[in-house]
Assembly symmetry: C3
Homo-oligomer: 360 residues x 3
């Protein structure tokens, strides 16, 4: 059993600890921290269960399953936060997930992989297709912000309608990217898939479905506690809701992908590492964000795609630098460091960012 697995198993201890913290009233800060830590191993188990089930049900259904449950943790946290009315935190966590996947995850992967291998290469074709899809997605989800920022007199209703229209287009595009990667151009993605396959006995679908169900319920429970205590806990730590949403929540929600991407990068499987990082950003922008807009509308907690203007800047900047670094199909430790430096600098900016935002 690897060190990583032991770490994840021991993190499961935080499930009872967080429950104890809640019912014995140890304080919001402790509930917040322990619930956050408890989510990490659950997210990892959900990932494993999804992959095992995918092996049984075959590539097509399995691919769909992976695509839908890939960001399940994030989606659950966001839905619970949305239902609790923390619309700003949810919106911030969308941009934060994109930034985090592109800069923190890709940066750590390239740095740690690059410390072991002088130069690492990856399939630039898939990288380009992904980059283009992501560019579109990022542009689309930021369009309402750009429109609101550059115009006067846009009503909340208009922003809401535009956001819904954008959400529908994005979900259609998402369905088409799945069709592309699983049907019409599946051969382009073969390399990445082959790398994950290892010979093992056929997994027990009932066992893993049970694991998936239990983990999903537990993640929902812990997310409930996380969200309930979020405002008090972070204000105790002197953090704004923007910083919490952009930096903290995505780190918790994406920890499993972080671990996977970095681990495989250190085994020189950069294709897989990048497809996790970029693919996760893409899923957030093409699937999670639009689902949240539609869910918010259905739940009566309307969520538009009007982000803070500085979030627009931060995402644009992250996409630009990630594209510029990944477009040549090669990476080294310096490129990883540059991505991490960009993340650090953006982190500073969000830390210092005032709560009140710009015009519009």
């Amino acid at each position: 059993m690897s060190g990583k697995n032991i770490l994840f198993l021991s993190l499961l201890l935080f499930i009872p600890v967080s429950l104890a913290a809640k019912f014995l009233e140890w304080g919001d800060l402790i509930v917040f921290i322990t619930a956050g830590l408890a989510i990490l191993p659950l997210a990892a188990w959900m990932g494993t269960a999804t992959e095992e089930i995918a092996v049984v049900v075959g590539p097509t259904l399995g691919g769909l399953l992976n695509a839908t449950f890939g960001n399940a943790t994030e989606l659950i946290i966001a839905l619970i936060a949305l239902n609790a009315g923390l619309v700003d935190v949810v919106k911030a966590s969308i941009t934060g997930s994109i930034i985090g996947n592109l800069l923190l995850v890709m940066g750590l992967s390239m740095l740690l992989g690059g410390l072991r291998y002088k130069e690492q290469t990856f399939q630039s074709i898939v990288a380009r297709v992904n980059a283009s899809s992501m560019n579109l997605a990022v542009i689309a989800i930021l369009l309402p912000t750009a429109m609101n920022y550059t115009s006067i007199g846009i009503s909340e209703k208009t922003l809401q309608n535009l956001s819904l229209a954008v959400a529908v287009v994005l979900i259609l595009v998402y369905a088409l990217t799945l069709l592309f990667s699983m049907k019409t151009h599946a051969y382009l993605y073969d390399v990445g898939v082959a790398e994950t396959e290892e010979i093992h006995t056929k997994p027990n679908i009932w066992l893993w479905s049970g694991v998936l169900l239990v983990c999903t319920l537990l993640v929902a429970l812990e997310s409930e506690m996380l969200v309930d205590t979020l405002e008090v806990a972070t204000s105790k730590l002197g953090l704004t809701s923007l910083f919490t949403g952009v930096i903290l929540v995505p780190i918790i929600g994406n920890a499993a992908e972080h671990a996977t991407a970095v681990t495989v990068a250190m085994k020189d499987k950069m294709d897989l590492s990048l497809s996790v990082a970029v693919g996760s950003s893409m899923q957030i922008a093409l699937f999670v964000a639009p689902v949240l807009v539609i869910a918010g509308w259905a739940l009566g907690k309307p969520m538009d795609l009007d982000f803070k203007p500085f979030e627009l800047v931060a995402v644009a900047v992250s996409v630009l630098i990630a594209n510029s670094i990944s477009s040549d199909g090669k990476s080294n430790w310096l490129e990883g460091t540059l991505l991490l430096a960009a993340y650090t600098v953006l982190g500073f900016a969000f830390y210092f960012h005032p709560v009140i935002s710009g015009i519009g």
Copy 2:
């Protein structure tokens, strides 16, 4: 005779219909629609006539002719609208043409071509040179907007002077790109030219000059009717002048290029298809826009290059995504879909955009 030709010939019927609509006073909306439809075949005939004359007068003079008359329809509509004082519509149609060529035309070409061929390739060298020229052009025409948006207290006179200075630089650059593509580096463009050549008898220059003259006059006539009825007709349709300028007018003005680009893409001639789409954007930005600025100044209807800030965002976004998709010299149906999705999303945004604009 191909289906496309039959379609274009039958559209010629709209010339008498539009005239009847005008003189029998069938209403502004009908005049607007029929005049718009009548322009489509005329623009196509102008294109054919220009190409036939180009064959006779030889590559150099022919290239110049193509470069000058390539966007003649657009230029005529814009000049008439400018003279009628519809400065905002003219400006919107400039950005709309750039967006339309890069997203709608290129997107349709890649999608329809990609449905027939799994992967299509094109000369990335020419694509890059064009992309760089277009980047410059787009940057230059958007600079006055950026300056006005980011500063306070810029007088209309200053914007006018800056726009004129920019226009002169752009026309010089346009002349230099012609020199580059027709003289010093003509060999780079050979592939594209060869694709268009078909063996046919030497065309009759007098016949085609006559066709060109008649079509130009008819386009001017129909454009006059289009512009006269534009405001009433579009407000009856519930559309803003911004949406009309950015989406409707460019579709009418560029229909011929659209048809050409898509047709050749479906014959797997992606080089030619892209050079029509990107070349047309480039001509708008490097030639049509500066000519309009200078013409407006000469006509006493001063037109600066101060667009709505959101137009700046839309063009920047279109250039970024078109560059990201075309830079690898390959295309597939998904990339076409992404461009069309970007166009759709921008279309929604312009539809919902309020008439009053941002700061400055």
Copy 3:
């Protein structure tokens, strides 16, 4: 002795002339112009001296020396201007140096090189690494501007703190890029270095150290006179402090690099030419700018990284077009012309830019 050397030697005459102008009170404008001209040959001699000493002390120490003294002239002018309280001019000269190196220097090199050679090629690997570092640096130094522009209620203290934090990150990144280019991945840069090597006798380190010392002192002296007379002289010429800072000061400070980059481009050594141009921009953003922020803080003349919003636009635009042109590892005269056209258009914009700036 080449024509260039004769020119530089004769420019040395401006040292006594500028001193005479100052002490005989010929007027601020004449002092300003003669001091500016006197700096040009001194900067060139400093460059030569640094390179000769670098040959003696070996590649590692020599590389460090080059990296530190490479922009010494700029740094000296900026430090003196900062100490004189001309914070706005110093900030403008940072963005102006980046723009000037990317557009004016690279543009002239590609144009003049391209007039002699049909197509010039360069190592795109190094170009990409440099471009990515520069993207990061540019993003980082513009982040405080972006934050201030898109938000309300950011205190000067916050901007100052954010700027200091960014400065520390940038200096660390600079150190890491040196480690990368001189140690871990030095082989990537071999081609560029080999091109500069010419067989010559071992230089006299004492002689060149003396030259370096004398030139540094003289540059400081002339910069003092330049800065003292800057405001009066430029207002006599009808120029704003913004235009002076963005266009004039960088041309004086970077003249030596300009000459080197263009000269080697005309010998078809594009690798070296680009590494001078891009490397110089990179040094400004990763080293000079952060040093000035820290020095300003130490000198009690706090300088933040909050530029005018239009400077942000100008730098972003320059980086985009320079990346788009250099990313394919090939250049021709048209690409050089496009860069120069972009510089000209930006120059117009800064000329017309009002002194008062945007929101925030």
